[in-house]
């Protein structure tokens, strides 16, 4: 067998091994399934929801879910304090959580990755300045600042996404910087420079593809983080505003009924928990699978 053949053979089997590792990682599969469920719910909300999530039926308020006494299949998860179908609100709520997660990550990722690339590649003074900005950002209490800004600017879905995006970029910067620094001195970057590629194009073409693994992990972590923060903001009345079916808001609205109908809190909370759990498991799985040498 020639050398070239051996190499392509090894590469093929390495790819097969990697695929098998993705398929065998339990956490990754469970997390991926939970995440997929949420995405399907969000995309197909009009098809899946049995009723209009905003339609109030004051005659049918706080009906219990189907498994409880007095529940019926008309409202499988019961109704809220305004008589809106809880299952429908829950399904539509997944849109808000995912939107928050994706929007925040898009903004935060753009900021953080740019800063990280600059710091990692140029080093020296650029690195010092950017590291200082990251340190300063880390010193600010995210929850409190988000709460204050949203509270002062006025709360809406857009404002929440913007504020969270502008706050949650630090991990992107740190991870990108570290990864870029690690590969900066590798041979092929030097080779790219030697054949006359300009510095920015080297960064984009050579460095970026190599940091996608760690960045994907941060994407999942920060998505989870943003979703939890939005829920908390909405719960405190300073996030997404009614009548939007944010899960955090649903918990806040159900808070007064905790004594009599605890499920109005338990259900959206469980949904939040499962979504965040799914994202975290998926992220942990990606890290395990993409880490050099695996587990």
């Amino acid at each position: 067998m020639s050398v070239a053949q051996t190499h392509s053979g090894e590469r093929a089997s390495a790819r097969r091994l990697r695929l098998r590792r993705w398929g065998q990682h339990g956490g990754l599969l469970i997390g991926g399934a939970l995440l997929a469920c949420a995405i399907v719910m969000a995309l197909c909300a009009p098809l899946l929801a049995p009723a209009d999530p905003y339609l109030q039926e004051l005659g049918a308020r706080l009906k219990p879910p189907v498994w409880a006494e007095g529940g019926s299949w008309a409202n499988p998860l019961g109704t809220d304090q305004l008589g809106r179908d809880y299952l429908s609100r829950l399904i539509y709520g997944s849109r808000i959580s995912l939107l928050i997660g994706l929007g925040t990550v898009a903004i935060g990722g753009a900021i953080g990755i740019t800063l990280g690339l600059l710091a990692g590649f140029f080093g020296g003074r650029v690195d010092m300045v950017i590291s200082f900005i990251v340190t300063a950002r880390l010193a600010m209490p995210v929850m409190l600042v988000a709460l204050a800004v949203v509270g002062l600017v006025g709360s809406s879905l857009t404002v929440v996404i913007l504020v969270l995006g502008l706050l949650l970029w630090d991990q992107f910067a740190i991870v990108t910087r570290t990864a870029v620094r690690q590969i900066r001195d590798l041979d092929y970057i030097a080779a790219a420079r030697a054949v006359g590629s300009s510095t920015p194009s080297i960064i984009l073409r050579e460095a970026l593809p190599n940091v996608t693994g760690p960045i994907l992990v941060v994407v999942t972590l920060e998505m989870a983080h943003a979703i939890l923060l939005e829920a908390a903001l909405s719960f405190l009345g300073l996030g997404v505003q009614p009548p939007l079916p944010s899960w955090g808001l649903m918990i806040a609205e159900g808070r007064d009924y905790i004594f009599f109908t605890p499920w109005v809190i338990a259900i959206p909370g469980a949904a939040l928990f499962l979504l965040v759990l799914g994202i975290n498991l998926f992220g942990d799985g990606v890290r395990d699978v993409t880490a050099p040498g695996g587990r």
Binding site: A136, L147, L236, L281
Partner: protein, 304 residues
């Protein structure tokens, strides 16, 4: 060591100044304070009067330096709502919030350290998986929801703790548990990772080759090196716990700084919000500095 401490101190100072500028700027541009103070019904003239009365017509940097100068003299301004000095408002509520954060950090350490060590000692066993599970679940649980569930179970159904209030120490149990649960996963993961790394290290093999007892190997040689980064994290976590107090104090109706910040944000009570953000940031900067120094002091490579 002294040089290192000095470097860290200057960095901390610079970060503190940067944070004060950033937080001042973002909060100030977030809203038109004069409008907020005058209320929705006020006409343009009234708004302008208020703007001048509160000095809000001056350029932003002048306002910043005036504010900084006041703070340097210990004057944090006067609450728009309470008509009292902000410093007094905060000082009244500080003990409660600090007690809560301290209790929960202690609780988190009591839970996380032994579990992390156990998980590392029995790497890949059921106990390791259990700890990993606790960590994963803890990181996914919305804290306010967890708080409500605890209230439902322990205060409403079982009635073993009071429903709310910080008047008695029993009232702090549930809030502390919620905050602790929020801090536990990170501490546990770090302890576990540190222990696994240390236990696989060459000097642990040396310690075994010397015939030392298991207890001596674990306590003297392994724990000390594994726990060093955890100390740093614990200090930083205290800062996070202060930040997390907003939610917990609101849910449990505890009249601490977190609750004050939430109320003040809703009332556009700017001096209070500004001061609390600054205070929490400064505490965080100080804790980071302190943990750096502590770490350096424990590590002979930096100390000497």
């Amino acid at each position: 060591m002294a040089r290192y401490a000095m470097q860290r101190f200057i960095l901390a100072l610079a970060v503190a100044v940067a944070v004060s500028i950033i937080s001042f700027a973002i909060l100030r541009v977030s809203t038109d304070l004069a409008q907020a103070l005058a209320g929705e019904a006020a006409n343009q003239e009234e708004v302008e009067q208020i703007r001048i009365a509160y000095g809000l017509d001056r350029p932003l940097y002048v306002q910043y330096f005036a504010w900084l100068g006041d703070i340097a003299r210990g004057d944090f301004g006067e609450s728009y709502y309470f008509r009292e000095p902000v410093a007094g408002l905060i000082l009244d509520r500080l003990p409660l919030t600090f007690t809560l954060a301290g209790m929960s950090l202690l609780l988190a350490l009591i839970i996380a350290l032994p579990l992390g060590v156990l998980a590392a000692l029995h790497h890949n066993s059921w106990i390791d998986r259990l700890c990993l599970g606790i960590a994963v679940v803890g990181q996914a649980m919305p804290s306010f929801w967890f708080a409500l569930m605890l209230i439902f179970v322990f205060a409403v159904t079982l009635q073993v703790v009071p429903l709310s209030g910080g008047d008695t120490w029993q009232g702090l149990i549930l809030p502390a548990v919620v905050l602790a649960y929020y801090a536990t996963p990170a501490i546990m993961r770090l302890t576990r990772a540190g222990m696994i790394e240390v236990l696989a290290s060459d000097y642990i093999r040396t310690a075994r080759a010397k015939g030392l007892s298991s207890a001596s190997i674990l306590v003297k040689h392994a724990l000390r090196n594994a726990v060093m980064p955890v100390v740093a994290l614990a200090a930083v976590k205290f800062g996070f716990l202060l930040g997390g107090s907003t939610i917990v104090e609101t849910v449990f109706a505890l009249d601490g700084i977190g609750y004050l910040s939430w109320e003040s944000i809703q009332r556009a009570d700017f001096p209070v919000v500004q001061s609390i953000v600054l205070l929490f940031s400064l505490i965080f900067v100080f804790l980071t500095f302190a943990s750096d120094i502590l770490n350096a002091w424990v590590d002979p490579r930096v100390r000497v």
